[in-house]
C-alpha cells in the first residue's frame, strides 16, 4: 500500500470498495441516460440492471480466482484467506463481465451489438471512478521517479492519476463524439494505454506467461491481437465474400 498523503487516512474503512460501489451506481445512471438512444421497451431497459449486476459479480469473482494463480504466495492457503488477500485485476474482471453480459443479453433476446455499444461509456466511467478508489485506497501506485515539477516534488510516477484522466477523457469522447463501434475502439485504446502505463507501475505485478512483461501487458497484447485479427477477418469477409 502507498498512501495518497500522510494526512489522508481512511483506516479500516473500505474506501476502495465504497468508491467502486459509487462507481457502479453512477455508471448505471449513465447507462440509463444512454438507453434513451435505443428503441426498446422500458421494461427490458430496466431489467438489464440485474444482468449487469450478475455479470459484475461474475467478473470480480473470475478476477479474484485468477489472482490466486498469479500470486504464488497464495497457493496452499485456505480459500477464505485467498479470497480476502488475492485482490482484483481489472482485465480478468472485464473479460468475465463482457462474456457473461453477452450471454445474458443473448439469453434474454436483447440486441447485443446495440446494447454493448451503449454499455462501453459506463465501463470507462466505472473504471475511472474505480481508479479514484485506488488513489484513496493506496493501491496501483507508480514507480519511484523523484521529479521536480513547478516547485512540486513528485516522488512516484502518477499512474493512477494518468489512468483517471485517460478514462474520464475516453468517457467524454464516447459520450460526445463516438457513437458507433465503441467496444472495438475501447478494446484498442485501453490496452494500448495500459501496456504503456504498466512500465511505470511500482506495485507487485505478479507473473502470468513471461517475465518480460507484466500480466496486464501480456493481456493487453493478447486483446490487441484478437481485436486486430477480428477487424482483418471482418474486412476480408465484407470485401470478398459479400
Amino acid at each position: 500500500m502507498h498512501e495518497l498523503h500522510p494526512l489522508i487516512d481512511f483506516g479500516i474503512f473500505p474506501i476502495f470498495n465504497f468508491i467502486t460501489g459509487v462507481g457502479f451506481i453512477f455508471s448505471y445512471f449513465l447507462l440509463n441516460h444512454n438507453f434513451k438512444n435505443i428503441i426498446d421497451s422500458k421494461v427490458k431497459k430496466d431489467d438489464i440492471i440485474i444482468y449487469l449486476g450478475l455479470s459484475f459479480l461474475i467478473g470480480i469473482g473470475i478476477s479474484n480466482i485468477i489472482n490466486w494463480f498469479i500470486f504464488p504466495e497464495l497457493s496452499g492457503k485456505p480459500y477464505l484467506f485467498r479470497i480476502l488477500y488475492a485482490g482484483y485485476t481489472f482485465y480478468f474482471g472485464l473479460i468475465g463481465f463482457l462474456l457473461s453480459i453477452s450471454i445474458f443479453l443473448k439469453l434474454f433476446n436483447y440486441d447485443i451489438a446495440v446494447y454493448m455499444n451503449e454499455i462501453v461509456p459506463s465501463i470507462t466511467l466505472f473504471h475511472g471512478i474505480g481508479r479514484i478508489g485506488c488513489l484513496l485506497g493506496g493501491c496501483c501506485y507508480g514507480d519511484i521517479c523523484n521529479v521536480n515539477l513547478f516547485l512540486m516534488e513528485i516522488e512516484r510516477f502518477p499512474t493512477r492519476e494518468f489512468s483517471i484522466i485517460f478514462l474520464f477523457t475516453l468517457t467524454i469522447i464516447f459520450q460526445k463524439y463516438i457513437k458507433e463501434r465503441r467496444l472495438i475502439i475501447y478494446l484498442i485504446l485501453y490496452p494500448l494505454f495500459r501496456f504503456l502505463i504498466e512500465f511505470k507501475r511500482g506495485d507487485d505485478r505478479g507473473h502470468l506467461f513471461t517475465d518480460i512483461f507484466s500480466p496486464s501487458q501480456e493481456i493487453s497484447l493478447l486483446i490487441l491481437f484478437i481485436v486486430i485479427m477480428f477487424m482483418v477477418l471482418y474486412h476480408i469477409k465484407r470485401k470478398y465474400l459479400i
Binding site: 479500516i12 473500505p14 470498495n17 465504497f18 467502486t20 460501489g21 459509487v22 457502479f24 451506481i25 448505471y28 422500458k42 421494461v43 430496466d46 431489467d47 440492471i49 440485474i50 449487469l52 449486476g53 450478475l54 459479480l57 477464505l80 480476502l84
Partner: protein, 126 residues
C-alpha cells in the same frame, strides 16, 4: 397480454449496493471478532476457527443477497423486499460480534426493504 406491477424507485438498488459493499468488511470483522470472543472465552482452536468461518460466511451471504435483491427492486418489488429483509436478518446475526460495518449494512438493507414494499408501483403489459 398480461399486466404486471413494477417498482419505480432506485432506492432499493442503491441501498443494496452500498449495504453489500459495507457488509463485506463487516463479514471479515464478524469472523475476526467471533474468533476473538471465542478465544477470550477459552474455546478450543478448532471451535474458534469454525465459529469465525461461520460468521464470515453468513456475512458474505448477506452481502450477496443484499446486492442481488437490491438490483431486483424495480422488476419484482415484493421479491426484492423479502430478499433484502433476509439480508437484514443475516447481517443482524453477525451484529452479535459488535461490528460497526454490519450495523450500517443492516440499516441500509432495512431501508432498501422498506422502500421495495412502499415504492410507487406502475402497471406494465408483458
Amino acid at each position: 397480454m398480461a399486466t404486471k406491477k413494477r417498482g419505480t424507485s432506485n432506492v432499493p438498488m442503491i441501498m443494496g449496493i452500498i449495504g453489500s459493499i459495507l457488509q463485506l468488511p463487516g463479514a471479515i470483522c464478524a469472523g475476526a471478532c467471533a474468533a476473538g470472543i471465542g478465544g477470550a472465552a477459552g474455546a478450543s482452536q478448532s471451535s474458534v476457527n469454525e465459529t469465525a468461518s461461520t460468521y464470515m460466511i453468513l456475512g458474505i451471504i448477506a452481502a450477496l443477497l443484499g446486492f442481488i435483491f437490491g438490483l431486483m427492486g424495480k422488476k419484482s418489488p415484493v421479491v426484492a423486499g423479502v430478499g433484502l429483509l433476509i439480508a437484514t436478518v443475516l447481517s443482524g446475526i453477525t451484529l452479535i460480534t459488535f461490528n460497526f460495518f454490519s450495523l450500517i449494512a443492516v440499516i441500509l438493507f432495512l431501508i432498501g426493504a422498506i422502500f421495495s414494499f412502499v415504492q410507487k408501483k406502475e402497471e406494465v403489459t408483458v
